[in-house]
Amino acid sequence: MNATDRQVPGMLSGLLATAKRDLLLAWKRPGDVLNPLFFFAMVCTLFPLAVGPSAEQLEFSGPGVLWVAALLSTLLSLNSLFLSDFEDGSLDQLLVSPQPLPVLVLGKTLAHWLTSGVPLVIVSPVLAITYRMPMDVVGVMMLTLLLGTISLSLLGSIGAALTVGLHRGTALLSLLILPLAMPIMILGANAVSLAASNDVYTTGIWALGAYAIASISLAPYATAAALRISNE
C-alpha cells in the first residue's frame, strides 16, 4: 500500500482526459451542440425581418449581428457546463481529484469551446454570405470568432461556476456574463467592420488574441475557486 509514492499522471493527461470525456458526452447528446447553432442561425434571421432586407443595411449591420448572435448562443450553451456534473456528483469527484482543479476546469472549457465556439466558426460563413459579406471579410470574421469564443468560453465558465446549483440560474448567468463579455464583442465586431471598410483591423485581432491568452492563464483559477464555493 504505497499509493502515495506512485506518480500521478501529468497535468496534460488530466486536461485531455477531462476534455475527452466531455466530448464523448457531447457526441452522445448531439442536441446540446446543435441547439445553440440553430439559435445562432435564428437570431441572424431575426434582424433582416426586424430592420428590413435592404442590401446596404445588411452589409452594414452584418458583423455586429453575427457577433451578437454568437455571444448569445455561447451564453445559451454555458448554462449546462457544470450543471450535470453538479447534479450527478461528478463535481465532488473533480474537487477531490489528485489533479489540480484549474487544469480539469481548463479541460472542460476546452471541450466546451470545441463543441460551441468551433461549430459557430464553421457555420458563420453561411450566414455571413447571406449578409452579403465579401469573402476576405468572412475570413477575418471567422478569425475573430475563433479567438473571441475562446475567451467567451473561459469567462463564461466563471459565471457558470458561480451560478451552478442556484434556482433560476440561467437569467442570472446572463446578467453576470454579458457585461464581462462586452469587450470581446466590441473588439470582434469592430475588427470585422473595419475589415469590411478596408481599414486596418489588426488592432482588434491582436487585442482578441491577447484577451484569449490572458483568459486561458487566469480564468481557470477563478472558475476553480467559484466551483469550490458553489459546491460547499
Binding site: L162, P179, L187, S193, L194, I229
Partner: protein
C-alpha cells in the same frame, strides 16, 4: 497595531466605533457640499461655450469618481475576506454595492441631463465614458443579483467576492475597449479635457472631497446595519437591544 486591527474587526466593537465615527464624516461632508454648491452655482463664472449647463459637473464628476471607488472597495473587501477570511470585510463589500450602484446611476442621470443641451439628445451612445459607466452599472446589478440569489450568507460572500475581483480586471478592459470603439465611430465626449479655470477647479475639488466624506458616512451606516443583521442571533446584539438604553 495588530491588536488594534483585530479589535476593530470584531463586530460589536466595530458597531460602536462606526456609530462614533459616522458623524465625523457626515457633518464636514455636508458642509463641504454646501460650500461647493454655493461656489459652483454662484461664484464660478459661466462657461463661454456651455453656458450654465456645465455646472452639473459638480455632481456628475464626484458621482462618477465614487462609482469607481465603491467598486474598488467592494472588490478589495471581497478579496480580503477571501484571503484572510475576515467576515467584517465581506460586510463592507456587501454594504458598498448599493451605494456604488446609486452613485453610478447618479453619474449616468447627470450625464444624460447635461447631454440634453449639449447634444440635443438625452442619450448619446457614442460617448465612451457614459458607455463605460453604463457597463459598470450592469456589473453592480450582476453583483447584487448574485448576492440575492444565494441564501447562505457565507457562500454569497465568497461567490460575490470572486465576481467582484473578476469585475475589477474587466472594468479596465471595458475602459480601453470602449475608448477604442468610440475612436472608430468618432464618438464625442461632453467633458473636454483642457483649460479649467482655478475657481472651477477649487469648487470641483471641494465637491469631490465633500461627496467622498458623505460616501464614507453612508458606508459606515450601511456596514453597521449589515453587521447587525448578520449578527442578529448573537448574544451581544440581544444584550444591546434588551439593555435599558435600547442600543446605540
Amino acid at each position: 497595531m495588530w491588536t488594534w486591527f483585530h479589535k476593530l474587526a470584531s463586530p460589536p466593537h466595530f458597531y460602536r466605533t462606526a456609530a462614533l465615527l459616522s458623524p465625523w464624516f457626515a457633518v464636514p461632508g455636508l458642509a463641504l457640499i454646501a460650500w461647493g454648491t454655493w461656489q459652483g452655482l454662484f461664484v464660478v463664472p459661466m462657461d463661454y461655450q456651455q453656458g450654465d449647463a456645465f455646472r452639473i459637473i459638480y455632481v456628475h464628476v464626484p458621482s462618477a469618481y465614487l462609482s469607481l471607488m465603491a467598486y474598488m472597495i467592494m472588490a478589495t473587501g471581497g478579496a480580503i475576506g477571501l484571503i484572510w477570511r475576515m467576515k467584517l470585510s465581506h460586510a463592507v463589500a456587501a454594504a458598498a454595492a448599493p451605494i456604488g450602484a446609486a452613485f453610478t446611476f447618479l453619474a449616468l442621470a447627470t450625464g444624460s441631463i447635461w447631454g440634453r443641451p449639449m447634444w440635443g439628445t438625452w442619450w448619446e451612445w457614442g460617448d465612451p465614458r457614459m458607455m463605460s459607466e453604463l457597463i459598470l452599472l450592469f456589473l453592480y446589478f450582476g453583483y447584487m443579483a448574485l448576492r440575492a440569489a444565494i441564501d447562505d450568507t457565507a457562500k454569497a460572500d465568497k461567490a460575490s467576492a470572486v465576481l467582484a475581483i473578476v469585475g475589477v480586471v474587466n472594468v479596465v478592459i471595458v475602459h480601453f475597449s470602449v475608448e477604442w470603439w468610440s475612436s472608430l465611430h468618432q464618438g464625442q465626449t461632453v467633458f473636454k479635457r483642457g483649460t479649467m479655470d482655478a475657481d472651477m477647479k477649487t469648487a470641483l475639488l471641494i465637491m469631490i472631497l465633500g461627496f467622498t466624506l458623505l460616501f464614507g458616512s453612508m458606508l459606515l451606516r450601511r456596514i453597521r446595519t449589515e453587521v447587525l443583521y448578520r449578527e442578529r442571533r448573537t448574544r451581544w446584539v440581544r444584550d444591546m437591544i434588551l439593555s435599558p438604553k435600547g442600543g446605540g
